[in-house]
Subunit: 254 residues, 2 copies
C-alpha cells in the first residue's frame, strides 16, 4: 500500500504553498489535505474550544481535500482521528508563505500543525518559504523538499521530533547552496505595535514589529538562511531547560 | 521605587485566578494587569493579525487593570510596550484554572503569555491550579506562590527562562508537601474529538480528549503533582533538539 501523507498548513487550504506541497507529496504516496478554511497565520499551537468544528470536503483532482473551521493543530488532530482513511505515515505542513525560522516557530500555525503531529506520534515536517509573495520563486527548492520527504519516509525520525524546514528568498540569492541541519537562533520581535487613533478619538494598535537577531553563529538557522542554505531544525515539543532545572534546585522543598 | 509587576492570563481579566494573583503581587510591588477581555484558553502563543487591538482601562482599586481584545501573548507585548508606566521587573501569568503541566504547556495561553515575556527579555512565571472549579481551594498554595515570586524578584532567573508552576488539586491531597523543580513529562491527548450529527444531517466535532502520560518518573512534573507537590518547570522558548541535530547531520549538503 502506498504511504499515506496528511498535509496541513496555516495559510488555508487554497494557498499556493499547500497546493505545491500536495503536488510534490503525490509523487510519494496518497495525499489527504486537511487545512483551515481561511487563513490561520500566527495561530501557534492553539486549539478551538467552546465551538465545534466542521470539515467540508472540497472537490479536487488527484488527492483529497478537507477545509476545516479550526486551527492548524485542530486540523491535524481531526485529520488523523477522523478524516484520514488510515493511519498516516507522514504529516507535512506548509509550504508556509513567510519565515518560521528562529523565534517565529513559537507563533507559527504551520509549525503548530507539525508539532501537533509529533505529539500524536507521527513523523512530521513543516516547510516555509521566507517570501510572503505568493508568486515567489520556489522551484529550485523542490529537489531538496523531495530529498527531506524521502529521507523521513525511508529512515523515519527520532521519537518526538519534527523538522522545521525554511527556504531562503530565492530571488535574493545567487544560488541555493543546499541544506544545513542547525539549531534555532535566539531572537525576538520588538516595537510590536503601531498605535493609531480612530475617528472617535480612541486608541487602537496594529501588530507590526521588527525582527531582532543577535545570534548569527554558523550553527543557527538564521545563518544558514542568510548564506544561501535551506535550514532544517529538528524540534521537540518540550520547553524544559535541563540546565536551569539543575540551577534552580534551591527552590525544592527540603 | 517599588518593583513593577505586569500580570496577564488566558481566562480573562475578570477570572478569580488573576484577581488572587494580583492581590498577592501587590505585596511585592506596583501591579498592572493586562489581560484578555474574554476567555482565551488554549490560545497557545498565538498573536492577533489582521485586526487591530483595543485596550480598555477597567476601574479597579489597588492596581491598574486593562482588558485587551487579543490573545495572552498580545497582552504581554502590548503591556510592556504601551500600557505599563515603565519597564516591568517581573511578568506573571495566571493563576490558570486548569493544568498547564506536561504537554498542556504547548496549548496554554497562560504559558504563551509567560513565554512571550521571556522572549521580550523579562523574567516571568506562569501559575496554574489543576482544578477547573473557580471556587477551588488554593490558599495552602499561597505561601509557595509568594516564595517563588520573592525568589525571582531577588535572584532573577537564568536568561530566557520562564517558570511553569502547577499546583495540585488541594481538595484531593492530604497535605501540600512543598515544591519540586522538575522537567515536563512527555504525554499526549488522544480521542480528541466527539463526533455528532446536527439536525440537518451534517457532522460536527467537539474537542474533548483523554490525557495519556506514560512518563511518570520522579523527575517529572506529573509525578510531583500526583505526589502532593507543586511542580516548577524552567522553560526556554526553543524547540531545538540538540541530540537530533547531531543525529541528522547526513541531511547536510556536502
Amino acid at each position: 500500500m502506498k504511504p499515506l501523507i496528511l498535509i496541513s498548513n496555516d495559510d488555508g487550504y487554497q494557498a499556493p504553498g499547500i497546493r505545491n506541497l500536495a503536488r510534490i507529496a503525490c509523487e510519494f504516496g496518497e495525499v489527504v489535505v486537511v487545512a483551515p478554511h481561511i487563513n490561520a497565520s500566527a495561530k501557534s499551537h492553539s486549539l478551538t474550544v467552546g465551538n465545534p468544528l466542521r470539515a467540508e470536503q472540497i472537490p479536487n483532482d488527484g488527492y483529497t481535500v478537507y477545509a476545516v473551521t479550526g486551527t492548524p493543530a485542530d486540523c491535524v488532530k481531526l485529520g488523523v482521528e477522523h478524516l484520514c482513511p488510515r493511519r498516516p505515515d507522514l504529516v507535512l505542513s506548509g509550504i508556509n508563505h513567510g519565515s518560521n525560522a528562529s523565534i517565529n516557530i513559537l507563533y507559527s500555525g504551520t509549525m503548530g500543525a507539525a508539532l501537533e503531529a509529533t505529539t500524536c506520534g507521527y513523523p512530521s515536517i513543516g516547510f516555509s518559504l521566507l517570501s510572503h509573495n505568493e508568486n515567489a520563486m520556489w522551484s529550485p527548492a523542490e529537489p531538496y523538499i523531495k530529498q527531506v520527504i524521502e529521507y523521513v519516509l525511508s529512515k523515519g525520525l527520532p521519537d518526538n521530533i519534527s523538522l522545521n524546514v525554511n527556504i531562503p528568498i530565492l530571488e535574493k540569492i545567487p544560488k541555493l547552496k543546499g541544506m544545513r541541519v542547525c539549531r534555532s537562533a535566539a531572537a525576538r520581535w520588538t516595537d510590536s505595535f503601531e498605535k493609531r487613533v480612530d475617528p472617535y478619538g480612541r486608541d487602537y494598535y496594529w501588530l507590526t514589529g521588527k525582527f531582532v537577531c543577535e545570534d548569527m553563529s554558523e550553527d543557527t538557522d538564521q545563518w544558514a538562511l542568510a548564506n544561501g542554505y535551506i535550514s532544517i531544525v529538528p524540534c521537540r515539543p518540550d520547553f524544559t531547560d535541563f540546565s536551569a532545572v539543575q540551577q534552580l534546585q534551591s527552590l525544592n522543598t527540603k
